[in-house]
Symmetry: C2
Subunit: 503 residues, 2 copies
């Protein structure tokens, strides 16, 4: 094999490799506006795939979309003490509503009576609205969702992973009982699991956050953690059982069936454009992005190869037919999406363009293929990019099966990686320290991976992880159920936790 | 006929009627956050219908979705002189990026070096990005669109029509030639016409804005104007041929085929959640909203009538079957959407709920209907809400035809109204004044409607309309082509203009 399309490779410099994959696949770029990104068409098309899938599932589970204001008055944010503490440090604040020229410079004019914060999350603004719309048990459950942009002022930003503005979906629900709120928060975590594991093909560890990692104001925060190819964890999304904290802060009460006034129980849950960062880091290779077919904007791209102008018509006619035949096939219940790349560029350049963009199947058709009723194709999950010749009919007949096989391969590969770098047999703090220590001075970022170990659940002990720059990523739902020793204190402990470095 | 569902009626107080329809249909509500609205599920579902239709058409016409930052540095806004002049007065300005407690109060902290404006429109932030991504004629045309929220600080706000924050779609394109940019801006106006006339069934007048009404920085602004039931005009959307104004301001240049560096030609075009306000005011009646079937989130709502608990099962089984049969029918190329209202409420209350929400067909099914293989239904375009009995099979068989007929009825009715209140025979300023004068002292808002008259095209004369609180809404594409007298100056003039009061 020759040189790779992405420089540096993952091995050489993982962090720089990530930026270069984004650039090569033209997914997004840094905007000169501090910490904000421009999501480019290919990146946005992936977001639309995520959005369309999730929107359908959110509606199927009984939720209705709506839209709340971008602005949150500071006085609302203050109502839940932990909530404001969690977000005050990263709020963009609107203080004026006009610009005025002074000495040739445009300056903010007309100060607001009360400053407005741009939503860092919408519990406060929605809590206020729900307090007005909920009055009886008949109004419950209230199941809502919104697709929106969010602003959290970040000091160090990275495309998709941490940006001042990002896009997300945030569900907000109100329930009559604690049980229903708990069930809802777990139900939506399961919807996320389906998205992440069954569509995006990223193996996830589902669990609950420890107290120190909980959403500000939540009773329970559930999450899923995914291992990247630098063995760090990335939290893909969270679902919060907010208990009565927000209903008490915002006075969301209802008359129950006995006519008594009660505080409601609320939940919130969200996933963001961060998932695209995770997709890149789980599946990408040294030639660029690799998209599991269900999340790819096109499953098949056809590149016409036209060495002579007089052959153009027949090649395009053949491709047209091929496209129609492929579109009649289905894959995971949806139509296969086929794109014909008719740009005015060299064929080889186009071919590599689609490899870097991660398209599952790239097909080439030239005059000889037309003659033979054949085509040439390559699978993105084959790292050699070997071009295979095949009869058109056979390719069409097998396309769904091929895509399904690729879909599974991506999951298996990521799962294998995760398992290889997850340790169950680390029992002492010393061993833990060694596991997370850099293996190579020149590459301090390369370390062991995930550790599953016992923890005594004493919140005061968690700070010990800080020295190792690791944290309890979650208390996984899957518990071994045995008795062991706390990795921090050596005390007897039963709870398994997953420990890792993270994004 | 008895009392109407909406108080007051359109005749009694149009402006209050509008607010009450929104409330009765539960479309949106004012948020305590100044000038912002909460778009509630039924309002948002209508927006999703608009969005889905338009998104499909925008993609079919070759555009790609992407996403640009919410923030615009003040220095970018300043680059196009007219542009900043047009928007400086209504900009929400972010000046700080943290909140800090002082004397028990949370105050803005950490001032920004350069204040950021929340996008009032995105030409500036996109212009900057395009200057980096366009370099050769091969990059053109660059055809993009984004769905986003917009903030314009408005002093007097009204739900959907004028709110501080609103949702929209904004297309931004770059072309090599003036002709292509001109064609693009007109092509997208036509896409809007299809949405407005063929889907939302609102007759539109297409034309160009006069200089004083042009988008700040545009060479040509094309628009469509719709007559509301108080005879005022509402501008539903605009498409701008920006010429080279923005490419010069933001340095969007490309190497042409001869290797020479040229300024590009750009366009932008958008429609907003305002269209929902227009939909209410064009089709609504004194019983609430009326939705043309193609824009209705459900075309059919079925209300089960279960007088006795032991009949519930058979009624719901019958409804299930009916729903499946209806969903197999199609209407304008799409599946018919059927909703079963199983809420725990009285049947009559549900029935009126859907009338106020404007659902095209409301169906009732009770135990007797199950016995007879029948149902009872009412059409929303029949103002008497007469309930008609029909055999189930017949209803299913006719449903597509019925919906199509309703769709057309809504258009015809609105068209008739517009024509009745549009005058072609007003030739002098005195007549014009009389036409727009209140017909009744108690209802100053009731006036004549639209006037099509000649204008000499001298921009200085336009101010004369201000006294009458009217304006040139557009120079319609459809011109009579005759010679007449300017309605303002009496000079010879050939250009027809449409004059109206407006929202």
């Amino acid at each position: 094999m020759g040189k790779n399309a992405i420089e540096p490779t993952r091995e050489e410099d993982y962090s720089e490799w990530y930026q270069q994959v984004i650039k090569a696949a033209d997914l997004a770029e840094n905007s000169p506006v501090r910490g904000c990104m421009v999501i480019k068409p290919w990146g946005y098309a992936i977001w639309e795939k995520i959005r369309n899938y999730l929107d359908k599932r959110i509606k199927e589970t009984g939720h209705q979309n709506l839209y709340f204001p971008l602005f949150v008055p500071v006085s609302y944010l203050e109502k839940e003490a932990k909530h404001v503490e969690g977000f005050a440090k990263e709020c963009a604040v609107v203080t004026h509503h006009r610009l005025e020229e002074k000495d040739g410079k445009l300056l903010p004019a007309s100060p607001l009576e009360e400053p407005l914060v741009i939503r860092p999350t919408s519990e406060a603004i929605i809590g206020e609205a729900f307090s007005r719309s909920v009055s009886s048990f008949r109004d419950l459950p209230l199941l809502t969702n919104q697709w929106a942009n969010i602003v959290r002022w970040e000091m160090r930003t990275r495309l998709f992973l941490r940006t001042t503005e990002f896009l997300w979906q945030e569900g907000h629900t109100v329930h009559a009982t604690a049980e229903e709120a708990s069930e809802e928060s777990l139900r939506m975590l399961e919807v996320y699991r389906e998205l992440v594991e069954d569509v995006m093909m990223m193996p996830a560890i589902l669990g609950e956050k420890s107290e120190s990692e909980r959403f500000p104001g939540a009773k329970h925060t559930y999450c899923f953690e995914v291992m990247m190819q630098d063995r760090k964890a990335l939290q893909g999304g969270t679902s919060h059982d907010l208990g009565q904290n927000f209903s008490k802060a915002f006075n969301i009460r209802f008359n129950n069936q006995d006519g008594e006034l009660e505080y409601a129980h609320t939940t919130s849950w969200g996933v963001t454009t961060r998932l695209i960062g995770s997709l890149i880091m789980v599946h990408g290779d040294d030639d660029g992005l690799r998209l599991p077919p269900r999340i790819a904007p096109h499953q098949v791209v056809i590149v016409p190869v036209v060495p002579r102008e007089d052959k153009k018509e027949e090649v395009y006619a053949y491709i047209d037919l091929l496209k129609k035949e492929l579109e009649q096939q289905s894959f995971c219940g949806e139509k296969i999406e086929v794109h014909v790349d008719s740009r005015d560029m060299r064929g080889g350049e186009k071919w590599w363009d689609w490899i870097k963009k991660g398209v599952p199947l790239t097909v080439e058709v030239g005059p000889r293929d037309v003659e033979n009723g054949a085509l040439v194709f390559a699978r993105r999950d084959d790292s050699t990019h070997k071009k295979e010749k095949m009869k058109r009919n056979e390719f069409v007949q097998k396309v769904s099966e091929t895509l399904l096989e690729m879909q599974r391969n991506y999951f298996e590969e990521a799962k294998r990686y995760k398992e290889e770098h997850t340790r169950d047999d680390i029992d002492t703090f010393e061993e833990l320290k060694a596991f997370f220590a850099p293996k190579n001075e020149k590459k301090p970022e390369i370390h062991g991976g995930f550790v599953r170990a016992k923890w005594c659940e004493d919140p005061k002990t968690e700070a010990m992880f800080d020295d190792l720059k690791v944290a309890i990523r979650c208390i996984p739902f899957e518990q071994r159920g045995n008795v062991g020793r706390c990795i921090l204190t050596g005390k007897e402990a039963t709870k398994d936790v997953v420990i890792a470095k993270s994004y």
